[in-house]
Symmetry: C2
Subunit: 325 residues, 2 copies
C-alpha cells in the first residue's frame, strides 16, 4: 500500500470535498472567481482533508458531515496562505500566480477574509458545536503562530521552545485540528480523540521541520521560493539554531547573525551561508528531531481499533519524510 492507494480508497469523499471547495470560489466580483478557483484547485495533496477523513474511519464514518468539515479545514489553510502571501507580497505559489499578482493588497486582505468566512460556514455546516469550537481554536492558533514569526523575526537568540510554539501554530495546529475534528465527528472515545489529535500535531511538527530543512536544500523550482528564504526574511529555524550552536564565534556564524538582523548582505554570501548550513550536521540533527516526532506519532496509532486505518495513517507519516528525496 502506498499514498496513492490511500487516496484511491478515499476518492469518493475527496471528490465531494473538491466540489465544496469549488463552490466557495464562486463569487460575484469581476475577475475574482477565476483566480480564487485557480488558487483553491491548484492546491497540493489535500493532506488535511485526508487526515480528517482517516481520523473518523475507524469509527462512525458519517460522510455528509465529514465532507463539509474536510472542505472547511482545507479552505482555512488556503485562507491563511492568502494572507501569508499578502504579507510576503509573493507573486507565485505552487507555480501559480497569487492573488497579489492581480489585485491590490486591500482586495487580497479581504479575499482572505472572505475565504475565512467560507471556511467557517463549511465548519458550521456540521452543526456540531464541538467541531466548530476546534475549528475556531485552530484559526486562533494559526494566527498566533504567524504573529510569533512576525514578532520574533530578526531575533537570533530564540529558545527551542519559542521555535516549537511557532511551528505548532503555523503548521501543526491545522493537522491537529483536522485530526481532532474527524475523530469527534466519528464519535471516537475521548482517549482516542486526544491521541488522534496528538498524532496530527506530531505529524505536523515533523512536516514543518522538514519544510524548514528543505528551505536550505531545495532549488527555487521545488519549493516555489528561493533557497534560504527563511534566513533572508529573518526567520530563525531549527537548522539555523543548531548551526549557530555548533559554530558559535565562527565567521559564518557572524554572517548568519547579520543576515538574520536584516543587514544588506550580498546575495552570493547568503547563498554560500545557505550551502554551508545545508552541508552541516545541523541538518541531520534537525531531521533527527523530525524523525522522533514521526516515531511518536506512529506510536499513538496503537489506539486505533482497526489495522487497516492504522496502516493508512502510517503511510501518511511517510510523506513528511519522503519529500526530502
Amino acid at each position: 500500500m502506498d499514498f496513492q492507494d490511500v487516496i484511491d480508497s478515499l476518492q469518493g469523499e475527496l471528490d465531494l470535498v473538491e466540489q465544496r471547495l469549488r463552490q466557495a470560489a464562486e463569487v460575484d466580483y469581476p475577475l475574482v472567481g477565476d483566480f480564487l478557483e485557480a488558487i483553491i484547485t491548484s492546491g497540493g495533496k489535500r493532506l488535511r482533508p485526508i487526515l480528517l477523513l482517516l481520523a473518523a474511519r475507524s469509527y462512525n464514518y458519517d460522510i455528509p458531515v465529514l465532507v463539509p468539515a474536510a472542505a472547511g479545514i482545507e479552505l482555512l489553510h488556503t485562507a491563511s496562505l492568502v494572507h501569508d502571501d499578502t504579507i510576503d507580497n509573493a507573486l507565485l505559489r505552487r507555480g501559480q500566480p497569487t492573488l497579489n499578482s492581480a489585485f491590490s493588497s486591500e482586495a487580497v486582505i479581504l479575499l482572505g477574509d472572505y475565504l475565512f468566512a467560507q471556511s467557517a460556514m463549511l465548519a458550521t455546516e456540521t452543526m456540531n458545536p464541538r467541531v466548530v469550537r476546534v475549528f475556531a481554536q485552530t484559526l486562533g492558533e494559526i494566527t498566533d503562530g504567524v504573529l510569533r514569526e512576525i514578532f520574533n523575526g530578526h531575533r537570533i537568540d530564540q529558545t527551542r521552545q519559542e521555535y516549537e510554539l511557532r511551528i505548532y501554530g503555523k503548521t501543526a495546529s491545522l493537522f491537529a485540528g483536522a485530526a481532532e475534528m474527524g475523530a469527534i465527528i466519528g464519535g471516537a472515545p475521548e482517549d482516542a480523540i486526544a491521541e488522534i489529535r496528538a498524532f496530527g500535531s506530531d505529524f505536523g511538527m515533523a512536516f514543518q521541520i522538514v519544510d524548514d530543512v528543505l528551505d536550505f536544500r531545495s532549488t527555487s523550482d521545488q519549493a516555489g521560493k528561493p533557497v534560504g528564504a527563511d534566513l533572508r526574511q529573518g526567520t530563525v529555524t531549527l537548522p539555523t539554531m543548531y548551526f549557530l550552536e555548533q559554530s558559535d564565534g565562527s565567521a559564518t556564524a557572524t554572517l548568519v547573525r547579520r543576515i538574520v538582523d536584516g543587514e544588506a548582505v550580498p546575495d552570493d554570501e547568503v547563498r554560500e551561508v545557505t550551502r554551508l548550513i545545508s552541508q552541516s550536521t545541523a541538518i541531520d540533527r534537525a531531521l533527527d528531531v523530525a524523525a522522533s516526532y514521526i516515531d511518536r506519532a506512529r506510536e499513538r496509532l496503537a489506539i486505533l481499533p482497526d489495522p487497516h486505518t492504522r496502516e493508512q495513517f502510517s503511510i501518511l507519516t511517510d510523506l513528511a519524510v519522503t519529500r526530502l528525496s
Copy 2:
C-alpha cells in the same frame, strides 16, 4: 426613558461583555496587548451587544450564553475595523492611534485575523450551532460588503441596488446578525426571530445611510476622518447618487465624476463640491430613505410581546438619527 436608561438597565451584562473583550486583548507578543486593549476598549457605544441583549429580553434571558455571543459580535466588528484601517492605512480611529501607527501592515493583517479567531471562539462558547452559523454567515456578509466597496470603487454609475447590497454587507449585516443571535439564544418563536433580524437589518441600513450623510457634513473632529473622505477614495454613496441625478450635466457633476474617477483634483475644489452636495436636497432625500428604514424597523417591533423592551428598541433606533444633530 432615554438611551442612558437602556444602558443602565443592561449594565450588569454589559460589564461582563466588557470583561470578555478585555480578555481577548491579553496576548503574549511584545507591545501588542496594550494596543489591542486600547482599540477594544476605546470602542463606541457597544450598539451591537446592546441589540443582541435586547433581542433576547422578551424571551429566555440566558445571560451566561448571551454574554459571550455579545462579546463575539462586538469583537467581530472590531476585527473588521482593524482590516478596514489597514486597507485605508488609517492612523487614527475614534481619536485613538490605530495598530497601523505602531506596527507593520503584515502584523496588522494578522492581528485582525487574531481578533477574528477570538471572536469566533466567543461565538462557539454559546455551544449553539445555529448561533455560530449566523455568526459565520455575518463574517461572510461583511467581507462581501467590503469587497463590493473595493471592486465598485471609482465607478460612478452604480445602481441603487448595488449601493444597498454594499451597505447591507458592510454595516447592516452585523446589526441583523446580532439581533438574530440574541433572538435565537432567547428561544424566540421563528416568526419573531425573522422580524427581530429584519429590525436589525433595517436599523443598520438607516445607520449607514446617516453615516454616509455625515461624511459630507461633519467636521474632521466629529467623524475622525476628513469631510468627503468617501468621495476622495472613490466610494459613491446615496447623497452623491442623488446629487448626480439632480444635477446631471452641470459643472459640479462633472467635477464629482472626476473626483470619483481618482483624478488629482485640488483639495479646495473637493471641499467646495462637498459643501455643494451637503447643502443640496440630495442630503434630504438620503435622510428620507434612512427615515423610511427606521419606520419599517419600528413597525417590526409589534412582534415583541412586552411593551418595555419594545420601547427600549425604539430608543435605540433614535440613535441612528440623533447623530445628525
